[in-house]
Structure formats: structure tokens, C-alpha cells
């Protein structure tokens, strides 16, 4: 069973060197007869930033939802810091405290203030004393320029602010790894940058991240490796400099050509 290390700020400090922060082996996922993931193998080392790119429907979101067990896998396994989290009988609630996820549509709790959104997990799940949870939440909000919004309800905030609060909410759990599911796709173009800046800062701070994105320029800047998904498989996996300039697979080339023609790269 995975334990929570108390007060460990660096997410993977106690990981044995052999184990990857996240390891996905032979992952399959079907919804009825529709097989969305057809065998995904991926290893993410601590402090690595992996970007998943691919057309809509290629399975990026489903992969992320499988990793934090929001969707049960059909076959294959996922290991977090060397321990399998997809085996039966695993405590999914405990696993999820280690894996933060940020959604495309923010999914903030509309009936709670920003501060309560951020402290709910620490106070109710990690059993952090309320005063301490509030102190930590305010420190995080301050770090991302959101402290003056602490008492507001989410519907008073811009989309960019809401998404930054959602990121803070996930960070408040001190996860070992952060999953980002197209976090800028629902934003107005002028609000994208403020959210990407937050992610960039997290990457510089050493946060391990698995990012599904349509922002190719961002992926090229930030990723340690980029994975191109098509038809439920990772077709090509390479450092961004290589994948974006000389893609080897024919499907990757076609996808990037379309993106370039659309002016997105």
C-alpha cells in the first residue's frame, strides 16, 4: 500500500531510483464495443513533463482518467512509484490523493468560495487541521496571484482565474504527479497565457506532469518528451525538438502538417 509521507515537499523524494514516478503497461480501455485505448506503454520519471498530443478522440483524456482511476482499466496496469494501483482491492481514494488532475472545464465547486474549494481535500481527506489547511491554501493562492480571490465564489472569476484555482486545488493535496487534461481548451484565447505560465512555473519547480494538450508551441517549450497518440496507441514518442522537426511516423507527419496549416504551430 502506498503511504503518504508527511510534509514531503518534493513529490518523489522517497521513490527508489529503479521505480519510475508513473509506469503504464499494456493499458487497454473499452467503452462497450468501442476500444479507445489499445495498449499504451509509457514510463514517466520523477520531475519529467510528458505532453500527450493527438487529434480529438485519440484517447488522451481517457488515458489521464484511467491513470487516476476515474475510469477502470479494461486490461493492463498502472504503477505509481513502483506500486500497482490498478490491482483489485486497492484503496482508490488514497491513490487519488497522490495524483492530482485538472480538468478542461475547471470543475470548481460552485457553492464554495475559492478558499473552501482549495481546503476541502486537505481538510477532509488528509485530515490537515483546518487552520493549517487554510494557511497552506492561502500561501498557494498567493504564489499564483489569487489571494485576493480567496473569498469569492468561482462564478465571479474569469475562466483563466478559475483554471488557476483548479490547479491550486490539485496542488493543495501535494500530489506526486499532476495530470492536466486540455486545461486551456475551454478558455478564451487571451486567457490561455496566464494558465500556461502557471504550468511552466510548476515544471521549473520540478513537478512531474502528464499533460494532454492542443497547444503545440507550449508542448515544444515545456515537454521533456512528447507522445503522439492515434487510434488508442502511442504512435511516436520523442523529445520535442525531434518530434516536431523530424517526425518519423507517417501519421505524426500528417497530424503536424494539419496543425501547421491551421496556424497552430
Amino acid at each position: 500500500m502506498i503511504s503518504r509521507t508527511s510534509g514531503g515537499d518534493s513529490p518523489a523524494a522517497d521513490t527508489p531510483p529503479a521505480a519510475a514516478a508513473l509506469e503504464i503497461r499494456g493499458l487497454h480501455k473499452s467503452f462497450g464495443a468501442n476500444e479507445v485505448l489499445r495498449g499504451i506503454d509509457l514510463s514517466v520519471a520523477a520531475h519529467e513533463v510528458i505532453c500527450l498530443i493527438g487529434a480529438s478522440g485519440s484517447g488522451k483524456s481517457t488515458l489521464l482518467r484511467c491513470v487516476n482511476l476515474l475510469e477502470p482499466v479494461s486490461a493492463g496496469s498502472v504503477y505509481l512509484a513502483g506500486q500497482e494501483i490498478t490491482r483489485p482491492g486497492v484503496n482508490e481514494n488514497l491513490v487519488r490523493t497522490h495524483i492530482g488532475i485538472v480538468f478542461q472545464s475547471f470543475n470548481l465547486f460552485p457553492h464554495m468560495t475559492v478558499l473552501r474549494n482549495v481546503t476541502l481535500g486537505p481538510a477532509r481527506v488528509l485530515r490537515t487541521p483546518r487552520a493549517e489547511a487554510v494557511r497552506q491554501a492561502r500561501a498557494l493562492l498567493d504564489r499564483f496571484g489569487l489571494l485576493d480571490k480567496a473569498g469569492d465564489y468561482p462564478d465571479r472569476l474569469s475562466g483563466g482565474q478559475q483554471q488557476r484555482v483548479a490547479i491550486v486545488r490539485a496542488l493543495a493535496m501535494r500530489p506526486r504527479i499532476l495530470l492536466l487534461d486540455e486545461v486551456t481548451s475551454a478558455l478564451d484565447p487571451e486567457l490561455v497565457a496566464e494558465v500556461l505560465d502557471v504550468i511552466r512555473e510548476l515544471a521549473e519547480g520540478g513537478m512531474t506532469m502528464l499533460i494532454a494538450t492542443h497547444e503545440m508551441g507550449f508542448a515544444r517549450d515545456i515537454a521533456s518528451r512528447v507522445c503522439f497518440l492515434a487510434d488508442g496507441r502511442i504512435v511516436e514518442e520523442a523529445p520535442p525538438a525531434q518530434l516536431f522537426t523530424e517526425p518519423r511516423d507517417e501519421r505524426t507527419q500528417r497530424f503536424l502538417r494539419r496543425i501547421t496549416e491551421a496556424g497552430r504551430l
Binding site: N68, T97, F103, F109, P110, L120, G121, R124, D155
Partner: protein, 295 residues
């Protein structure tokens, strides 16, 4: 509850809607005139009808209404006003129990997993049966059936207690469906967000889903409670001296039906404020949604 969005609330609250189309002085004059004409016409029909005198004497006799309201034990009839207090107590007791039982039923019916299956089946059968059987039959069944069982505690209660039990059984089935609609109205992405923080199924329900669900269903809940207030009158069939029963006893002694009108007026005084409050909440809700809020 919260102090924000005052502007939008006021604009869409019931005042302007009730007087819709009456903007400007000309509008006010026109709507006042038409209201007076309609009321005068209805009054004329009532007063000029061949049996008007008889009806007014039997149903609207001020002296009888006054006597029925206050009651007179020496002449063998109860005060309708005092009897209404029993309706209010039955309503309040039933309301609290309904809110609790209905929530339990709704949560059980929404649950997943094999462990809860027997409870789910029982809840589903309960809702089907309790909604399908007329309330008056449930009242008879409990009011006459339970005493006949001769059980120690169960069979020695007052008619009002059996009445409340019957109201709770019938209304909880309806209200549990209201709760269920409320729970379903909260988007699945909220569940995903809550679970992704490591909250358990029950914690998600308690902190994230139910608070939002309850906000969505307050108007339909109040609507059911308006109905519940009136239906406390049905408990009179078991002999409990509530307002309607007291009115009946008065008319039995005096052969004058004005007491029923008194009961009707008293029920109106109870239900109209709740109805207006429901309207107010619905209007506020709409105002909030128009303002882009989802709270």
C-alpha cells in the same frame, strides 16, 4: 443565505411580474379598471343568483363563522381556530420526518454496488407502492390497522400520530423523487472533481453533491409542503380534532356550513405565505441564472 446579486434579485422578484404589463400610469389605470370590473361582475352574479340568500346564510353567516372560529364546549363543538394548531403541529412533525426519510431513500436509490442491492430493492418497491396508493387509504390502514394489532407501543398512539405516520409514508416517496432529481441535476464532472481529490463516495455526496442538489430543489420541495399543509386535514377521518374535523362537528350541531369556510380561510392563511415564498425563491433563482451565477 448570501448577500450578493441584490440588483438582479429585485428586478425579477414577484412584484414586477405580478404587475406585468402595468408599466406607466396609463397601464396602472387600465389594469385597475379591468380588475374592478371583473370582480364586480363576479360579485353581481353571486349576489343576483336565485339561491344567493340561502347560500350566504348557510356558508357565509358572520355569526356562525365567529362561533365556529372560537368554539363553544357547552354546546358540543370545538374551536376551528384551536383545532388548526393540531394541523400545524402535524405538519411540522411530518415535514421534518419527511425531509430525513426521503433523503435516506433517495441516497439509497442512487447508490451503486452489490452491498446496497437489498436496500435498493426495498426503497424502489416502497416508492412505487407509497406513491400508487391514495393517501386516504394509507391513513385508514395505519389508523385502524395498527391499533387492531394490539402491540404494546405501536397500537396505543393517538389518531394524530397515525395520521402523521401516514403523511410521512406517502409524502416521503414523492419527496425522495424530488431529491433524486436534484442529485441527478448536479453534473457528473462535479463527482469526478470531488473523487479526484480522494473524497470517498459518501464524502463527495455530503460536501459536493447534496449541497448543490438541495439548492436546486428548494422550490419543488416547498411546493410539496404546501400540499402537505392541506393534507393534514385528511387525518380528521381518524377522529383527530383538526380544523376540518372541528368544522364538521360544528355543522353537525348547527346545520350551518360557515364553519367550513372558516377552516378554508385558515388554511389559506397558512399556505399563501409559503406559496409566495416559493415564488420569491424561484424568481431569485432565475435572476441568478440570468446573471450568470450558478449558486
Amino acid at each position: 443565505m448570501n448577500e450578493e446579486t441584490p440588483g438582479s434579485v429585485l428586478v425579477t422578484s414577484r412584484g414586477p411580474r405580478l404587475l406585468a404589463g402595468a408599466s406607466g400610469r396609463r397601464g396602472v389605470v387600465l389594469s385597475t379598471a379591468s380588475t374592478v370590473i371583473v370582480i364586480a361582475a363576479l360579485a353581481a352574479i353571486f349576489l343576483l343568483a336565485p339561491g344567493s340568500r340561502q347560500v350566504r346564510h348557510t356558508f357565509l353567516n358572520p355569526a356562525d363563522m365567529w362561533h365556529a372560529l372560537l368554539g363553544d364546549p357547552r354546546h358540543g363543538y370545538y374551536s376551528v381556530g384551536e383545532a388548526l394548531w393540531l394541523n400545524i403541529r402535524m405538519f411540522l412533525a411530518a415535514e421534518v420526518l419527511i425531509l430525513i426519510l426521503a433523503l435516506a431513500v433517495a441516497v439509497i436509490r442512487q447508490s451503486t454496488g452489490p452491498v446496497m442491492l437489498p436496500l435498493r430493492v426495498i426503497s424502489t418497491v416502497y416508492v412505487d407502492v407509497a406513491r400508487g396508493v391514495p393517501l386516504i387509504l394509507i391513513i385508514y390502514a395505519l389508523g385502524y390497522g395498527l391499533p387492531a394489532l394490539s402491540l404494546r407501543f405501536v397500537s396505543s398512539q393517538s389518531a394524530a400520530v397515525y395520521g402523521v405516520a401516514a403523511l410521512v409514508i406517502s409524502y416521503s416517496a414523492y419527496v425522495s423523487e424530488v431529491y433524486r432529481a436534484g442529485i441527478n441535476s448536479v453534473h457528473q464532472s462535479q463527482v469526478a472533481a470531488a473523487r479526484s481529490l480522494g473524497l470517498s463516495h459518501w464524502a463527495s455526496l455530503r460536501f459536493v453533491i447534496l449541497p448543490q442538489a438541495v439548492r436546486n430543489i428548494i422550490p419543488p420541495l416547498l411546493n410539496d409542503f404546501i400540499s402537505l399543509q392541506k393534507d393534514t386535514a385528511l387525518v380528521g377521518v381518524l377522529g383527530a380534532i383538526e380544523a376540518n374535523k372541528a368544522a364538521e362537528l360544528y355543522s353537525d350541531t348547527t346545520f350551518n356550513y360557515s364553519s367550513y369556510v372558516v377552516a378554508a380561510i385558515l388554511f389559506l392563511i397558512l399556505t399563501i405565505p409559503l406559496a409566495r415564498f416559493t415564488d420569491h425563491l424561484i424568481a431569485r433563482d432565475r435572476g441568478r441564472r440570468l446573471a450568470g451565477g450558478a449558486r
